[in-house]
């Protein structure tokens, strides 16, 4: 008797209930959603759109922006620069971070904690200050490493820069600032390894070296690969390091060393937003491809 009206309203009530739930969810996520659309989705679409637009005259421009970007002799050179930098920086990160982490795991725990803090600290030096700091460190007249430079016979900063190579110098700067964080992350992964497996390997007769190379590294492989991929993604975006080389004067300035710098130049020096957008779009496309590969081809980011 009383169930009759309920049965009639059943679907209506269910839907109303669900609608309320969805509405509440969107209420909470709204501020973030606005930002996501404004600074995530829209800029990408807008840059993509601009890259097909004639920025000076207006109107559809086809692939002309891309064509003029490729015809700029500086673009392939910048691509080679960035490619070389990424290779050095990624290798340095993977090998350096892994080796240091495993070594820290092999020594006294309290000493390792102190050292990890020391390694982590340069991460506090902001990116532009890192470059300024290294401009000092690279100058044989003031650098605390001057003894080392004299060994190679480098007398001034230009000697050092050309001796090591720009890609190498930038990679060392980035490694100085960012590797400490990764050492902490990888140390966490080492601490998370099941102790019984390590003990079983020791009972099986593995020494420290074998333990590190045959047991720990294979078990840490996913984290190491993740680190490498993220290093590639960030390496492709290099901007601050070469841009700030101009601080030490025109002899060392590298205003068009990386792709991002060229995109910046097209926007600010030339005022051609179209070509700038085309270059940005290419760089973004690579980054987003890497992100998508990471999300869908691995289970790194699966939580459920």
């Amino acid at each position: 008797m009383m169930s009759q009206p309920v049965l009639l309203d059943r679907d209506k009530m269910k839907r109303a209930h669900r609608r309320r739930e969805i509405f509440a969810s969107y209420l909470f996520i709204a501020p973030y959603l606005v930002l996501l659309l404004m600074f995530g989705v829209f800029p990408v679409c807008y840059a993509l759109g601009l890259s097909f637009t004639d920025a000076i005259e207006g109107g559809f421009y086809g692939l002309n922006n891309y064509a003029s970007a490729i015809q700029d002799f500086r673009v392939p050179r910048a691509a080679r620069n960035v490619g070389g930098y990424v290779v050095i920086w990624v290798l340095l990160t993977i090998v350096g971070v892994t080796v240091v982490t495993l070594m820290l795991d092999a020594i006294n725990k309290r000493a390792a904690n102190v050292l990890r803090t020391v390694f982590f600290l340069p991460g506090a030096v902001t990116s532009s200050a890192v470059v300024v700091l290294w401009l000092f460190l690279l100058d044989p007249t003031v650098s605390p490493f001057q003894g080392l430079y004299h060994l190679f016979g480098w007398e001034n900063r230009i000697n050092v820069l050309s001796g090591v190579g720009f890609a190498g110098v930038f990679a060392v700067m980035a490694f100085f600032a960012h590797s400490g964080g990764w050492i902490v992350v990888l140390s966490g992964a080492v601490a998370g390894l099941p102790g019984e497996v390590i003990e079983a390997a020791r009972i099986d007769g593995a020494n420290r070296w074998q333990l590190a190379t045959r047991i720990k590294v294979p078990m840490l492989w996913r984290t190491i690969v993740l680190m490498g991929i993220l290093a590639v993604a960030s390496g492709l975006q290099i901007f601050v390091e070469p841009q700030l080389m101009s601080l030490v004067g025109p002899s060392a300035a590298q205003p068009d060393w990386s792709i991002n710098q060229l995109a910046y130049q097209y926007a600010f020096a030339v005022g051609d937003f179209g070509v700038s957008a085309a270059l940005s779009t290419v760089v973004l496309a690579i980054s987003i491809t890497i992100a998508l590969l990471l999300i869908f081809c691995t289970k790194f980011y699966h939580t459920n």
Binding site: M2, S3, V6, M13, K14, H17
Partner: protein, 366 residues
């Protein structure tokens, strides 16, 4: 008697998967009902549907005669005690218990009165200012119950409340919950996978399996007259022994069943010739015989001892009788049996349960 909770043809599906198949159930006011079943049987889902934490696909749920199928959990007049206690870690014991009262804007003095009353019942007076992290498992459980008590709910819901406690504490808390039920006289629904908890606490037990109710009844009813093979094996520990048998003769009053190497006359009327019947015998109904002549008309099976468990007050022996599962018998402490010994096992047909090919219990006698 007034009905506290009614489920009418309640169903729940996730897409195509049915997690509750057509459940109907009436719970009287003041009754203690236990939902038991193996994991995945749907017992927790059913409880959470009563609580309003899971939606209902079909059917209605009534509490105190009021349709609450679509009501918010807080509007149903229920209180729930979770398996993990679910205490608010950032509030002390007092605030945990008072949270609901504060949300429903009771006066400060009223809140204090009710929290203190609950604390008295649960002997938590000393702990009110502690944070949940400083409490032992049993204390946390009592706080969780206290949180339920202060609301004066129409129905208490317990979701496996004791399974995170160690064995000794579990017995103690079981007694406390029993005492609480007697003291408050409230309706309680209690989900557990532990049949001992269900048997000792409940007025009636609801046995669930495969997302549907297998049987509802008083504890001893389920034990003595299980409606099907599942209930027979799920209730009682150690499990009931099962023997495959075939009808070799049947008339209007009795049938003869053929076992692997014995026959037995059962009070089953009019069975089909050759029908497969499963014989169920509880361990305490399996008797170790000194001599074949002691059988007294029962069935005698020969078995080889594969294990003996002496628990002190009761002792069990496990026999290999040529089936895949060993046969369990409860034996006297003085019985001298060791692994490898051979023994004669006697089974009294009057203490047997009979199940047809679909596992349904068969009525004995006329």
């Amino acid at each position: 008697m007034k009905q506290a909770v009614q489920l009418r043809n309640v169903r729940k599906t996730y897409g195509d998967v049915e997690v509750i198949k057509q459940v109907s159930l009436s719970i009287d006011e003041g009754e203690f009902i236990a939902f038991v079943g193996p994991s995945g049987s749907g017992k927790s889902t059913l409880l959470r549907m009563v609580a309003g934490l899971e939606s209902v696909t079909d059917g209605e749920i009534l509490i105190d005669g009021k349709d609450v199928t679509f009501a918010e959990p807080s509007d149903r007049g229920i209180a729930m005690v979770f398996q993990s206690y679910a205490l608010y870690p950032h509030m002390n014991v007092y605030d945990n218990i008072a949270f609901n009262l504060k949300l429903s804007r009771h006066s400060k003095s009223e809140i204090e009165k009710r929290v203190n009353e609950a604390a008295r019942i649960l002997r938590l007076e000393e702990l009110l200012q502690r944070s949940p992290g400083q409490l032992s498992g049993g204390q946390r459980q009592r706080v969780a119950i206290g949180r339920a008590i202060v609301r004066n709910p129409r129905v208490f819901l317990f979701d496996e409340p004791l399974s995170n406690l160690d064995a000794a504490l579990r017995v103690q808390m079981r007694l406390e919950i029993g005492r609480l039920h007697a003291e408050l006289g409230a309706t309680m629904i209690y989900v557990t996978h532990d049949q001992v908890e269900a048997m000792t606490l409940a007025d009636r037990i609801v046995v669930l399996n495969n997302c549907e109710i297998q049987q509802i009844g008083k504890p001893m009813e389920l034990y003595q007259r299980p409606r099907n093979k599942f209930v027979a094996s799920f209730i009682g520990s150690p499990n009931m022994n099962f023997f495959p048998a075939q009808v070799s003769r049947s008339d209007a009053t009795s049938s003869t069943l053929k076992l692997a190497d014995a026959t037995l006359d059962a009070a089953l009327a009019n069975r089909a010739m050759g029908e497969s019947i499963t014989l169920g015998v509880r361990p305490e109904a399996v008797v170790v015989l000194a001599d074949r002549s002691d059988a007294a008309g029962g069935v005698v099976i020969e078995g080889k001892v594969v294990g003996v468990e002496r628990l002190g007050n009761v002792n069990y022996a496990y026999f290999d009788v040529g089936q895949s599962e060993p046969v369990t018998a409860q034996i006297a402490g003085t019985t001298d049996l060791g692994v490898g010994d051979t023994a004669l096992l006697g089974i009294d047909p009057a203490r047997c349960h009979y199940f047809d090919g679909a596992g349904e219990a068969l009525r004995v006698g006329n």
